[in-house]
């Protein structure tokens, strides 16, 4: 019973994050949406871990710790890239970054 609530929260957060990545134009907001996805993963990991006994609980929490630190590194790099683009073209609107069309 209790597990479902956490999974539901995780799934909702994940969907909001995916929607944000796809629909937002502002680079910083896209970065925030990606954070939402990673946090939904953390909720899942900790919740699943608590259901699986002691060993799984530790594994889940350690996995979540790694996700947190990697997310910090990723966002650091991402903000640096967005800032660089802002300096060079004074916009963070992703739709305007289209010199090359896939």
């Amino acid at each position: 019973m209790l597990l479902n609530q956490f999974l539901l929260l995780g799934a909702v957060l994940f969907c909001i994050g995916v929607y944000g990545v796809l629909a937002r134009k502002n680079g910083v907001l896209v970065l925030m949406s990606i954070e939402l996805i990673l946090n939904s993963v953390n909720i899942n990991l900790v919740a699943f871990g608590m259901m699986g006994g002691d060993a799984a609980a530790i594994t889940g929490q350690v996995f979540a710790l790694f996700v947190i630190t990697v997310a910090a590194a990723e966002v650091g790099v991402g903000l640096a890239i967005v800032l660089l683009i802002y300096r060079n073209r004074t916009t963070v609107d992703l739709d305007e970054v289209d010199l090359m069309k896939g």
């Binding site: 019973m1 947190i68 630190t69 910090a72 590194a73 966002v75 650091g76 903000l79 800032l83």
Partner: protein, 121 residues
């Protein structure tokens, strides 16, 4: 009704009361206050000074770099707290391992320092 849902019922009642209260107070204000629209009321500063430039202004970039360094080194501490709790059981093995981890982090800090990022300009 299960205990679980009953617990949430309190939350729902609480939330509903809060919503009603806000709606009531705002609605009351709307009924009582006079309504005289005037274009001057829509300007940014009613004192009459027109704003210059766009609303989106650039903040100091140096804050950004400090904030970034803080986030990176702060988050690395996440590995040090669990280690500190269990340091006695890990004994010298844990001490050496954490020493290597901190050494690499310190190299990063030295890098930032040598590149002049830490100087307040």
């Amino acid at each position: 009704m299960s205990d679980f849902l009953q617990a949430y019922l309190t939350v729902a009642v609480f939330g509903g009361t809060a919503g009603l209260l806000i709606a009531g107070v705002l609605g009351l204000g709307r009924l009582i206050r006079p309504s005289r629209p005037n274009p001057d009321k829509l300007t940014t500063y009613e004192s009459g000074v027109d704003p210059v430039g766009s609303g989106f202004s650039q903040s100091q970039v140096r804050y950004y770099i400090f904030a970034l360094l803080f986030v990176l080194f702060d988050v690395e501490a996440v590995f040090i707290f669990p280690w500190a709790v269990g340091l006695e059981t890990y004994s010298y093995f844990g001490l050496v391992e954490m020493g290597i981890f901190v050494f690499i982090l310190v190299l990063g800090l030295v890098y930032a320092w040598r590149k002049g990022v830490l100087r307040w300009v």
